[in-house]
Structures are given as C-alpha cells and as structure tokens.
Amino acid sequence: MTISWFQAAILGIFACLCSNSCMAGQAVGNYTIGRPLVGGLVCGIVLGNMPLGIACGVAMQLVYIALVTPGGTVSADVRAISYIGIPLAMVAISAQGLNPLGGSAADLAKSVGTLVGTVGTVLYYAVATMNLVWQSFGWKDVHKGKLNKLTAVNFGWPWISHALFSFLPTMFLTYYGATAVTALRNALPMDGIAMKTLFTVGGMLPCVGIAILLRQIIGHPIDFVPFLVGFTLAASLHLNLVSVTVISLLFAVIFYEVEMARDAGNGSGKGPVAEGPANNDDEEDI
C-alpha cells in the first residue's frame, strides 16, 4: 500500500477539521471527525481499504476511548492519531502481510498510532500558540471597536495555524512515512525482540487510556468497586456493554437516593434515625 500526494492532502484537510482548535467545531470536529473510529472510516475510504481502516480505527479507539482534555492539557493529539497514525498503521499492516482483522494487526496499529499521537501533541501546542497572534489582532479590534472583525478572528485566521501545523505535517508525514514504514519491515523481523515488544505494548496501551479516565472518576480506592463489578459482568458473565449500562443505572439510582436521603436526614436534624440505615446501605453497596 502506498499513499499518493492527493490522498495525503485529503488526510491533511481532515486533520485541520478535527483537532483543537478544530475548524469543524468541537462536537463535529474533535468529537466526531477526530475519533479514531471515525478516522478509521475516513482513512479506509481515502486509502481504498475500508475493512483495514476500520480495524485500525477500532484498535486505536480503544486506547483513546476516554480522551478527556481537562483544562486544555492533552496527552495525545487526535489529528495525529486519526490522520497520521491510522494511515501509517494501515501501510505497516499491509507491508507486514498481517491479517487486517487479526489481533496482531490491532496491536501493531495501537503501537504505531500511540507513538504518533503522543509525538503529535507538539502540533496541538503549535496551533494553540500561533492562535495567540490572531487573538492579539482580536484584542486590538475590541479596543478600537471594530467588532465585526471578531468573526474573522474566530473563524478565519486560525485556518492559517492549521495550514502550517495540521495540513502540511499530515501531508508530508503520511506521504513520506508510508515509504519509511514499508522499509521498516525488512529492518525488523517479526519474531525479533523489538517487534515482540511492540506488539506486547500495543496490547497493554488501552490500559493507560482507561487509567486516565479512572483518574477522573475515581477519588478513593473504594471507588474501584463499581469499576470491578462492571469488569466482572463483562469478563466473567459475558454481558455486552448495553446490559452493563442498564445494570449500572440501578446502582446509580440507589446511590442517588441514598445520598439524597442522607442529606435530608442531616438537614432536618433527625440525623441518627435517618442516617443509620443510609450509612449501612452505603457500606453494603461499597
């Protein structure tokens, strides 16, 4: 598989649309076009191998299922994952002759994609920094009272940041990277230490993504219990995700009622009576 200039340019345009400051808006850009699952679909269509693109997208999506950007700090860049990482992973998988739908192809995709996505954070900060220039135009416009120019500041000028730090890097990296990835096949034998390590890491990387999300939602080690219950429902009882969600709603309702009941008890001053059973429930559930 090779990537032509034309294909690389299309990938470059999608890169402009999806990553902060996403030109297609946050909901459509970052949260739709930027998701690796959707990126896999787009890359599959652009590169003419949709099953392989989707398979890479699914694999990459697992690593970044919980891509939260608290306070605008990122540990990975969606444009690099979806529109540089996935195309290169597709080329690598084709070059290695792996079954595109197999587990080893997925592990290779995760390794390649995560490496590119992590390095790609440079692009994120480059765009954000260059936008400071347009914002300085904006402040001048506000002080001079030229309010109509704010529209260009918000919707027009940032395209230049993206042309420089999204379009061009994506185009060049996918075009020249494809050749490099293919050459890598001869340098690194599949049963060697390097490739075995790469595949093993690929299998573990989603754990980091899940852990990043857990860091958001788990304050106490005791909060691991619902997480483990969800894991057990799927791993041991083989329930699918919708079923797990439905069961979790029951626990959510119980916890909500318990907490509201406890607050009501405290508020009206009859603490011990109302509080006792509430606390017991709490401990049993946890």
Binding site: V58, G72, T197, I217, A234, A235
Partner: protein
C-alpha cells in the same frame, strides 16, 4: 429573570439561533492556552449585542464583559451562553445587572459545568456510545462508525440547542440543581455508571495475557500460567495492568507518556523472560 420587562428590546429566535450556531461551530476555533474559549464566547455574543444595542458605542461597551477568560466543557457549557443571553437582554432593558454580575455568573458556573460535563459526556456518554459502536464495527464493518457519527452528532446538536434555549429561558435557575447537594448526588450517581461502563469496556476489548508455560521432564506442560490465572479471576492481568497505570499516574504523579514508556520497559523484560509472546512470525 426578564419576565417583568415591558421593553421592546427582546431577542428573537433567529438571533438566538445564530448565537447558538456560532458557539456550536466556533467555541474553540481560535483556541490558545492563554484565552481558551474567550474568543469563541465573544463571537457567539456578537449577534446578541448587535440586536440589543442599536448604537455601536454601546456594543463596544457591552462586549467588555466577555473579554474575561472563559473555559468550560463546551457541550454542557452551552447553557452558560444561553444564560448570558438572557442576562444581557435584562441589562439592555435597564435592569440592575452590570458586566460584573454577568462575569461572576460565568466564572461561578464554568468550573462545576466543566466537572460535570467532563464526567458525564467524555467519561460516560461517549465511552458508552463508542463501546456500542466498536461492537458493531468489529470485523471491519463501517456500520459502527456510521452509527457513532449519526447518534453523536444528533445528540450533540439537539442536546446543546436544548441547553442553550433552556439557559435563555430560565437564566441561572436552569442549572441551579447542578450545584449544591443535589448536584453532588447526581455527580456521584453518574460516576457509578461511568465506572461500571468503563469496567465493561475494559473487559470487552482489552486482554493482557501471559504466554508463560513450564514444561516437565517428559516434555508436557505442567503449568500453563494463563489458564491458572483465568481460573482465579478472568482477566486478572488486564485489571492488574490497568490498576498499575492508575496507581502510577494518580499516586506517583507520573505523566501518561512516562507511564507508556514504563509499559514499554515492562514489555521488553517480559518478552526477554518469555512471559509475553504475541506469537508472530512471517
């Protein structure tokens, strides 16, 4: 908030929709680490100010309130933009509201809304949607990806539109239930759903296994470690690696990138010892 105003300066639906669309498409287009969503906010308030203040000088004066730093969860944060639209309308009609009041409201809400939005949308809704879509896309089928695009875009667009107009209609009453005790209880309940779903996602899609086997003198396997581990608790290695990553990042304050590099080292050692083997060859 603006029910007892008898002035003619009312915002119509067309102006509000325009303002909403500017936020939906442009909340973060001119993002920088320094000002984040400030310019997206000003751009979406522009149609409102133009409608409310016929005189150019008044528009320039009014926009000063929105030059302050702003950043929140852009989905749920739509409600804040709607609230400011109603406050701005009240201010234009001579009610006792100044730029500072508007800014206090924005500054007070952007933190809680960011916290709830990140855990509700990024931490719960999107993992559920993606988990379902991933299942539909296994085997290289585009169905899951298309399902995600359609489902999410519809939820995002109409959900945010609803939030914007709710914010405009009810002012800061629209979100009063999100702060305080009820808000804490809701957040806790959402956290339970999020944790369980994420546990399910991990079990459904990630599988860390060991290839370690010990052979007896007759050449037969007398210990297959993975089988033993599965008989204790299915997926125990996957949970262990995830817990280890969480512990590194939360308790040891290791960054995500360093955590990944530590996994590379562990994998290398594991491969050298024969603990891990993806079992590949040409």
């Amino acid at each position: 908030m603006m029910q007892n105003t008898s002035n003619s300066n009312q915002l119509d639906k067309k102006t509000l929709t325009k303002s909403f669309h500017r936020w939906f498409w442009g909340a973060l287009t001119c993002f920088s680490q320094e000002h984040m969503q400030t310019f997206g906010y000003m751009a979406s308030m522009l149609p409102i100010l133009k409608k409310l203040y016929p005189k150019h000088d008044d528009q320039v004066k009014a926009i000063q309130a929105y030059t302050a730093f702003f950043n929140t969860n852009p989905m749920l944060g739509t409600v804040i933009v709607g609230i400011t639209a109603s406050m701005e309308q009240a201010r234009a009609n001579g009610q006792d509201i100044d730029g500072e009041t508007i800014n206090d409201m924005r500054a007070g809400l952007m933190g809680p809304i960011a916290g709830i939005g990140d855990s509700l949308i990024d931490g719960t809704l999107i993992p559920i949607l993606l988990g379902i879509s991933l299942g539909m896309s296994s085997g290289g089928s585009p169905v899951g990806a298309i399902f995600y695009i359609v489902a999410w875009v519809l939820i995002a667009y109409f959900g945010q539109r609803f939030l914007y107009f709710r914010g405009y209609k009810f002012g800061d009453q629209a979100v009063s239930f999100l702060v305080g005790k009820q808000g804490a209880a809701i957040r806790h309940a959402i956290g339970i759903v999020g944790s369980m779903v994420v546990g399910g996602v991990l079990a459904s899609w990630v599988n860390v296994t060991t290839s370690l086997k010990l052979y007896g003198s007759n050449g037969k396997v007398f210990l297959n470690l993975q089988d033993k581990l599965d008989s204790i608790y299915p997926g125990i290695l996957t949970v262990a690696v995830t817990f280890f990553c969480w512990w590194l990042m939360t308790k040891k304050h290791v960054s995500a990138i360093w955590t990944m590099l530590i996994l590379v080292v562990i994998s290398l050692i594991g491969v050298l010892l024969g603990f891990f083997n993806p079992g590949l060859s040409y």
